[in-house]
């Protein structure tokens, strides 16, 4: 129990730090986007506005995988990903058609335009009716293999390979060899430190596949986000919401009578209190997935933002401190943040799994008292 408290303290600290930086960052981004929304990002990324736009672009999902952009010519080095749209039938085409938002793509007589990572249905000329900074055009359901989807597929593949290998290695003998030897303690860790203490000896087995999958899925995605490939999957609110909803659904479907009793008709309190407590408890039930969503999303987004900002120090501080000092400072700080992010990558996966198992444990626990 003490351990959980410690973790929560740590988490709270992180959240405070991250929210403060995030809200600050958000206003900056908005500010920059207004300046930058009209013209395309050409030329070297060397002004604070361009850097902010660049970071914002990175934080968003993308339809092409760009490893490097030549600032002078505006040429992107990378590859385009397939676009799949559900709009009066299925539209499948390559994102190359968008020319990184510069061109209107045509598919089966419909026209689409890419604007800040989102696909909008337009007329032939690609006109966007703008409202503030967001277009009002219809957004078809975008089932594209975006960068995030690619990241998830890659993670899934890695997991199947790694843990499938571990599973197979048990057929050769009781002790795994190679990579499995490093993975096995992690599986045991999730089972013995996360699932067992929170859900209980008897019931944890049923939830192990979900908890293990989510733990490694989030962790690997977080780590993937720290590679120079530029994935930002777990910093995507759709992804974290989906993860949290999975936990929510599992909790609701595995909940026993007592769990519902504690929500709608709290035992052991007077009737008026029961009536007052019910909506509060219902709210509490709904805030749990919300907190899971925001925690993971905010932590990872902030991590990416801070890391990229620190890398950008090299450019923004060049005038004030000279190239050597600014580069040194940037290198030092970003290395430091990188190490913290490595910890956060694990911590967030741990906390998500931990809280999921805690919520499941609360739903399946059998009370002896009352």
């Amino acid at each position: 129990m003490k351990k959980i408290k410690q973790n929560f303290g740590l988490l709270l600290g992180f959240i405070c730090l991250i929210f403060s930086t995030y809200s600050f960052a958000n206003t900056e981004v908005k500010h920059a986007a207004k300046h930058d929304a009209t013209h395309e990002e050409k030329g070297p990324v060397n002004t604070p506005e361009k850097i902010n736009a660049y970071i914002k672009h990175h934080l968003q999902d993308a339809h092409s995988f760009v490893l490097y952009t030549d600032g002078a010519t505006g040429k992107h080095i990378g590859f385009d990903l397939p676009v799949i749209l559900l709009d009066n039938g299925l539209h499948v085409f390559s994102a190359a058609k968008f020319h990184h938002g510069e061109a209107v793509a045509e598919s089966k007589g419909s026209f689409y335009k890419l604007h800040h990572g989102k696909i909008y249905k337009t007329n032939k000329e690609g006109h966007l009716r703008m409202h503030g900074e967001h277009p009002l055009n219809y957004k078809p359901l975008d089932l594209s293999i975006t960068k995030s989807v690619l990241g998830m597929l890659l993670t899934g593949l890695l997991m199947v390979l790694f843990f499938g290998g571990l599973a197979k290695s048990y057929k050769r003998g009781p002790i795994p060899t190679g990579l499995g030897r490093a993975l096995e303690p992690l599986v045991i860790y999730v089972r013995d430190e996360i699932a067992r203490p929170n859900i209980g000896e008897k019931k944890h087995k049923k939830f192990m596949p979900y908890l293990l999958t989510v733990f490694f899925f989030i962790w690997i995605l977080n780590l993937l986000g720290l590679t120079p490939l530029g994935f930002n999957v777990t910093g995507n609110i759709a992804v974290t919401l989906c993860l949290a909803l999975f936990t929510f659904i599992i909790v609701q479907f595995s909940a026993n009578k007592e769990y519902w009793g504690h929500i709608f008709w709290m035992p052991g309190v007077p009737v008026p209190m029961k009536i007052i407590l019910a909506p509060i408890e219902v709210l509490g039930m709904l805030t749990k997935p919300f907190s899971l969503t925001i925690r993971l999303f905010a932590n990872i987004t902030a991590g990416h933002f801070v890391l990229m900002s620190l890398i950008a120090l090299m450019i923004t501080m060049k005038v004030a401190f000279g190239p050597v000092a600014s580069t040194g400072m940037s290198l030092l700080l970003s290395t430091f943040i990188m190490l913290i992010e490595l910890l956060v990558a694990f911590l967030q996966a741990f906390i998500f799994t931990m809280l999921s198992s805690l919520f499941i444990g609360m739903a399946v626990v059998e009370h002896d008292h009352h």
Partner: protein, 166 residues
């Protein structure tokens, strides 16, 4: 918040749900179940091995103590046997001694009896002899006493005197 909502991509949400669901099912079948089962089997194996070792240790200890008990019993039995043998020997000697004593006494008693009998016979013979001798002497005396009339008269008076005096 507006940016957040605008950034929310329903398509990505759908894709993520599908991928996650497939991944969970896939991993459950091909990875987690076999891994967790193998881990459990291994842990149970280790536990049972430890238990078995403990049991074997206990058994050995029991065997040892049983052996010692057996040895003790054997020793006690040996002691008993020796003691019994000694007692039996002693008793036999005692018995023999007692028997000899009884025999000797019997012999002595027989001898004594024979002596008594012989003595009694001798005494009775002697008595007969003495009686006959006494009768002979008495005859001789009476003959002499009653040889003359004077003497008969003297005797008769004397006897009469005795009677009177009485």
């Amino acid at each position: 918040m507006e940016t957040l909502l605008n950034d929310f991509s329903p398509g990505l949400f759908v894709m993520q749900s599908v991928i996650l669901l497939i991944l969970i099912l896939l991993m459950r079948k091909f990875a987690w179940k076999p891994i967790l089962n193998a881990l459990q089997e291994r842990e149970e194996g280790i536990e049972s091995a430890i238990n078995m070792a403990e049991e074997a240790r206990k058994e050995i200890a029991e065997l040892k103590s049983a052996n010692e008990n057996l040895l003790k019993e054997a020793r006690a039995e040996r002691d008993n046997i020796v003691k019994d043998a000694k007692e039996t020997a002693n008793r036999m000697v005692e018995d023999a001694k007692a028997n000899a004593k009884i025999e000797a006494e019997k012999v002595m008693a027989g001898a004594r009896h024979a002596i008594e009998v012989e003595k009694a016979a001798a005494i009775s013979e002697l008595k007969l002899h003495v009686a006959s001798l006494s009768i002979e002497i008495a005859e001789k005396i009476v003959r002499t006493e009653l040889a003359s009339d004077d003497k008969q008269k003297a005797l008769a008076s004397k006897l009469a005197e005795d009677i009177n005096l009485n």
